[in-house]
Structure formats: C-alpha cells, structure tokens
C-alpha cells in the first residue's frame, strides 16, 4: 500500500493540522459536490505517511478514501491502525487524535460494538477536566484553559457526533450535551486568535448537524471566521504546497 505511493511526497497525515486540512476539503466537497475538493482530499490521502507514522486524527479520513474509491488497501490501513493499541486520551486535545477515528470504525466496520467506549472516553475527559466554576475545560491535569486545545476537543466532538447514529440516542445525546456546554463556556471566556478558525469550523458543523441554535451561534462563528486568514500546513521541503 504505502509502497505504491510516490515517496517523494509522502508525509501527509502525521499531524493534527494535516487532518484538519483534509477534513476541510472533504467538508467543502460534501457541501458543494465540487469534484475539485474531492480530488484534493484524495490526493492528500494518497500521499499519506506510513501507517507507523500516521496520526490517528488523519486516520479518520482514510474512511473517505475507502468509500470514494472502494480500494481495499484503505481498509487494510484502517484495520492495521485499529490493531495497534490505542491509548486513552489524557489531555483535552488528545480527543481529536483518536476518538473520531474509533467512532468511524465502530459505525462503519465493527457493527457499533463499542460505541459506548468511545462516548465514555469523551465523558471521562469532560468530567475530569471541566472546571464548573469557570465553565471551561483545562487542557490537561494541572494545566490551564487553552483555547487551542479546546478547539481540537470541539472538532473531535462534532466529527464524532456526525459519525454516531442518532438511533443510539443516549450516546449521541451525551456527546451533543458535552459540545453545547463546551461551546457556551468557550464563547463566554473569549476565543484566542489561534483557535478561532477551528472553533468557527466546529460551530458551522454543529449548525449543520442541527445541534445548536444558528440564530445564537452562527454570528459568532462568522465573526471569528472573518478575522482569520488560514495558512495551511505544508510538507517539509515542498515549496509548491503553500496555500
């Protein structure tokens, strides 16, 4: 699988930022059905790093490649990642690294056997790190609030909510409730620049999923979005990947 790729361009998929970029292309494709976005996403996925180096946040989007192409090598990569022991998230942002992928696996390939475990992981993070007085999460044990880490957590939540079958309502709803509480706290706290685009993205997704009130939250997202010019991450040494 990896051997088939052009090794000179291998490298996508080793960081969370890579995952965020490809998720954006996939979202644009789904909204517009524009073939260009689909191809961009597939091209990036084709240039995936080796499974050993792959960030599991990126792995979530291997399912897109599998669904779009039907090629079994993508499934093989997914199964290989699943077979690696995955550690439970410790810090808030860790949720983005593995939980949407695990939910995707449960929903698409594992007959929903352990959806409850994925939801429990989110609940555990929320209960352990949420500061009720402040209304926001700490980034980790003994750490302060971080808008950036909270943004990753919110993206993880909406991605997982999107994947979760609503007929497993108690699980779906548990994730929605955590997202709502997180969103209220973050907006009350004020959002640092480095987190604005990601939080705005999560709000757009949440509005699209129908889990938050667009009247209340869309203006906030639009304002955050307007204030940011997003700079996509590049591969090291690849000058043509500037965005």
């Amino acid at each position: 699988m990896v051997q088939d790729m052009d090794k000179s361009r291998v490298g996508w998929g080793t960081t969370r930022e890579h995952a965020f970029v490809v998720s954006t292309y996939i979202a644009w494709f789904r909204q517009t059905e524009n073939e260009t976005y689909r191809q961009c996403a597939l091209d990036m996925l084709q240039q995936s790093a080796a499974v050993e180096d792959m960030c599991s946040a990126w792995a979530t989007y291997l399912f897109f490649a599998y669904e779009q192409t039907g090629e079994e090598r993508w499934r093989d990569m997914i199964e290989q990642l699943v077979s690696q022991s995955m550690s439970e998230p410790v810090k808030l942002a860790d949720a983005y690294d593995g939980l949407p992928f695990r939910m995707a696996y449960e929903m698409k390939l594992n007959r929903m056997a352990w959806v409850s475990k994925v939801v429990s992981a989110f609940k555990e993070l929320h209960e352990r790190l949420f500061d009720k007085a402040a209304g926001v999460h700490c980034a980790g044990e003994g750490m302060d609030y971080s808008a950036e880490d909270t943004a990753w957590f919110m993206l993880a939540l909406v991605d997982t909510i999107e994947l979760c079958d609503q007929q497993l309502y108690e699980h779906w709803r548990a994730l929605v409730d955590i997202y709502r509480v997180t969103l209220r706290g973050v907006l009350k706290q004020g959002v640092a620049d480095e987190a604005k685009l990601k939080i705005a993205t999560s709000i757009y997704k949440a509005v699209d999923l129908g889990i938050i009130d667009p009247e209340r939250y869309l203006p906030a997202a639009l304002e955050m979005d307007a204030q940011q010019m997003y700079v996509a991450p590049t591969l090291k040494g690849d000058e043509t990947d500037e965005d």
């Binding site: 007959r111 056997a113 497993l168 309502y169 108690e170 709502r180 009130d213």
Partner: protein, 516 residues
C-alpha cells in the same frame, strides 16, 4: 346477560354484551333502539352510529323473540357541525383536501363536530384540536398523501431559548427523532373523539414508505394517528389501514379509549404495528380487530435516553375482547420499555395465526427504569400461534443488537443500563396448533422474577414448521418444544397441560424455584 355501556358520544355508542364470547359473541343478537331495528350484534363489543345528539335512547338485545338485555343512555350535546364539503373539500381522491379539512378542524367550536361525509379525501398530515369530534362517516376515506416531500416534519427535540429544557415532538422507535407528520396528529390536545364507520388509509402500498423502511429519508416514517401528550381521547369504530409505519401511536398521553376499531395492513408489510401506546397511562382497548405485518399491540416506554430522562412508564392498560391476527405478536411489551411497562390486563381475547401470542421483549441497555411488572393474561384463546408465551431479555434489536454486550450469556454487571422483568402471569389460556410452547429467557445477572402459568392448555401442531421462538442469538429454530426457561427466579406451573411436544416438557437452566 347484560348490556354494559363503554362509551357514549353525541352521535354514537359502544357497548358490551357479555355472553362468554371473546371477540365474537356466542350468538347473533337483534338490536332494537327506541323501538326500531338497529341491526345485528355479533361481536361482544359493538357500536352504533348515526344517532342524534342530546337524545335519550333505549337499547334492547334480543335472541329471537327473547329479550335478553336492555339499557338506557343519553347522547351528548353537540354545538355545531363543520361539514368539510362546506369548507371546500372535494373528496374525489385526486384533489388535495388538506386545507379544507384543516380549516374545518381549526374553526370547529368546542363540542362541535367535524363531519367527513362519504368520499375519498386526499390529505397531507392533519393536526387535531382540543374539544372536537371528528366523524368519518361510512364510505368516507382519508387518504394520506403519497409524496413525502410534501409532508411537514416534527423535529425530535427542540432546545428551549434559554437552553435549559427540551421540547419533544417527534419520535421513532423509542428515541426523540425527527418524524414526518402523521395522517392525524394531536400535540398537547385533549377531549377529542374520532369516530365513525369511515377509514383512515395511509396508502403506503401506493408510495415508497415500505421500501428501505429502516433508512431515514428526510425524517422517520409517519403513523396514521399520533397523539403526543394528549388527554381524554376516544377513537371509536374507525378502520385504519396501510400505514407507512406503526398505525396508532399515543405517546406520553393519558385516559384513552380505542373501541371497535379495525387496524389492517398486509401480512408482509414492514414494521406496521397496530397499536403502540408509549409511556401512556390509562388505556382501554375493547372490541378491536388487528390484522397486520408486525405486532398487533406493542406496549412501549421508550429507549434508554427517554426512560432515564422522563421515567414515564406505560401503565394501567386494559385490553379486552379483541381479535389479533397475522402479526408477529398478539400483545407485546417492549422492546422499547426503558420507562417501564406496568399493570397490564389482557382479558377475553382471541389470537389467530400470529408468530407469538403474549410477548415480552427487552435487552441490556434499556436501563434501570425499564421495569416490566404486573402483566396478566386471562382467558385468552390462541389458534395457530407459533409460540404462545415468550419473555425474551436478549432481544437483538437496534443497530447494536447483536453485540457481545447485548447477547452475552455470561452475567454482566447490573448497572444503570440493566432492565428488570417482574411478575408475568398467564391464566386460563388455550393455545392450539403451536410450534413451541413457551420461551422464557432472562438475564443471568438480573433473572426474570416470576412467571406464573395456571390452567393453561397447549397443544402442538401436527405439521408445525420450525421457528425461532425468541429473537435472540442463542435461540435456534425449533419445533415441538415444550417450555424452555432460563434465568428465572420462580416458575409456577399449575394445571399446565402440554401435548404434542418432543423431548422435555420443561427445559430449564438457572431457574431457582419451580412450583408445580
């Protein structure tokens, strides 16, 4: 013999002739109303229509020349009649009569009648109003629109403006999910009577509702009658047929009567339960006839989220003198029962050609509020019912139904997700031409508390086809089986006769006490 009045409206009456019959009366009785011939009563529960409001009536029942019973009643007052034709309804089966009929409903004053005379009325979902009487006269047919793109959607949950509360409108299989509006929908309404010899037709056979029925397309499928948080509603005499999904679905409602209704769907139609009260209190179903593609009556109380959040059982239910045919189950409790199902009496009923007779189904994950208790079946006849008695705590429903968590035969921790089955009793039941006598499957960590069978006769069919008596991964197809019980605290069998079985009359595993 006596005549017992069950319900009197402004234009109709339902009464019961107790002559020992179950659904059909033991004889045909000539009825005389105020001295005039009023037809024949051949069912125990019978209705008369086309009466006059605010009028005193004297009803007599004759067997030949012999007067057997009589009673007096007075019909209710009626304020006005809104004839839908006057509102512009055409009734030709083509014209969209939704606006006209909805206008008639909305404009109807208190205690007024919305009259739908004979004709075929093509309608999109209609919304009911409090304090009205909706009459579907003989040969009046409400036909549900076939194109789902023209249907309103009832959202599952809407968050309050202060984000503190939820407002629940739609529901699907025990979860608060978006659903299409039903043919007749009531939301937070009360004091309604829907009656007559007319028909509410879902027209599902002419649409795509039964195609890919487990896939949500736009929203989940509508019912024929959906009552959400309603009170004091009576449905009398109407025929319901060809529903897109469940037929009659009262939801978080109270004090309801369903009298002499007929509910029909093709035997192979998917998921067309007849009557599904969900988290309701105080229900009488009398003289109803069900012939369907799924459970005839399924008593429900939501799935885990609704059970845990609202903890509203479905309770105080009486089902009498009914006929259930051709469905999966005659009377079922579950599988959505997370709020609990309690105090159910099924009496003097006849079941024919259903897969199962009296069926309790639940599973891990329904929650600790999912208590099924005090369910009694008394004087029930079953003919060609595959397995008359089933209590199944390993039911493989829902997307995760076949997972290890749901299907494991090893004891799991008893926690907030574990349901409980209490006391179930079957008395004076005759079941002929069966495949398997009974299947009671508890949870190893939370056994069924007590099953009582008294004065029960079961005879196996000579040429029965194997069937899976309980839908659980551990239950194979079988035939000529006696009673199978596992994980039951107490099994009481008094005067229980089983004939035609092969092997053991009683197969048990982890049954603590057996009393015979």
């Amino acid at each position: 013999m006596k005549i017992e009045k069950l319900f009197v409206s402004s234009r109709s009456v339902t009464f019961q002739l107790e002559d020992g019959g179950l659904y059909a009366a033991n004889k045909r009785y000539q009825l005389v109303l105020n001295g005039e011939d009023a037809g024949i009563a051949n069912t125990v529960v019978t209705s008369l229509f086309d009466l006059w409001p605010d009028t005193k009536y004297h009803l007599q029942a004759y067997d030949g020349e012999c007067l057997l019973a009589e009673c007096d009643f007075r019909t209710e007052e009626e304020s006005f009649t809104m004839n839908v034709r006057q509102f512009g309804a055409v009734g030709d089966g083509e014209h969209d009569d939704t606006a006209a009929i909805q206008a008639a409903i909305n404009c109807c004053p208190k205690k007024g009648r919305v009259l739908v005379p004979a004709g075929e009325y093509r309608v999109k979902p209609l919304l009911l109003k409090s304090h009205i009487r909706l009459e579907l006269q003989k040969d009046a047919v409400l036909q549900l629109e076939r194109d789902r793109n023209l249907f309103p959607i009832l959202p599952g949950m809407i968050q309050s403006t202060d984000e503190e509360k939820d407002f629940n409108l739609g529901t699907w299989e025990g979860n608060p999910l978006d659903m299409f509006g039903s043919l007749l929908t009531g939301v937070d309404v009360k004091d309604i009577v829907i009656y007559g010899e007319g028909v509410a037709d879902g027209m599902a056979q002419e649409s795509d509702w039964w195609v890919n029925h487990r896939v949500k397309r736009g929203a989940w499928r509508p019912r024929l009658l959906y009552l959400c948080r309603c009170k004091d509603v009576t449905v009398q005499g109407v025929t319901f047929r060809n529903s897109p999904a469940w037929n009659l679905h009262p939801y978080f409602s109270q004090n309801l009567k369903f009298l002499n209704i007929s509910v029909q769907a093709p035997a192979n139609s998917p998921n067309t339960d007849g009557f599904d009260p969900e988290s309701c209190k105080g229900i009488l179903v009398a003289g109803a006839h069900f012939s369907l593609g799924d459970d005839c009556i399924a008593i429900k109380a939501g799935k885990l989220y609704m059970g845990a959040t609202y903890a509203t059982p479905c309770e105080d239910i009486e089902i009498v003198h009914c006929l259930m045919e051709n469905g999966h189950g005659g009377v079922t409790a579950g599988s959505e029962m997370a709020g609990g199902v309690k105090h159910v009496r099924v009496r003097d009923c006849l079941m024919r050609n259903t897969d199962r007779g009296l069926r309790v189904k639940t599973r891990r994950g329904r929650g600790k509020n999912g208590v099924i208790d005090d369910i009694v079946f008394d004087h029930v006849e079953m003919d060609r019912v595959g397995t008359p008695f089933v209590v199944n705590c390993l039911y493989y429903c829902d997307p995760d139904g076949h997972t290890e968590y749901v299907q494991s035969l090893e004891p799991q921790p008893v926690d907030d997700r574990t349901p409980y089955v209490g006391n179930i009793a079957f008395r004076h039941v005759n079941a002929t031409e069966v495949c398997c006598a009974g299947y009671f499957l508890g949870l190893p960590e939370q056994p069924i508390h007590k099953v009582t069978m008294e004065h029960v006769n079961i005879s196996c069919a000579r040429a029965a086809k194997p069937m899976q008596p309980a839908m659980a991964d551990c239950v194979p197809k079988c035939v000529y089986k006696g009673i199978v019980a596992s994980d039951v605290r107490k099994l009481v069998l008094k005067d229980v006769m089983i004939t035609g079985y092969e092997g053991e009359r009683l197969e048990t595993r982890n049954v603590e006490v057996i009393e015979e």
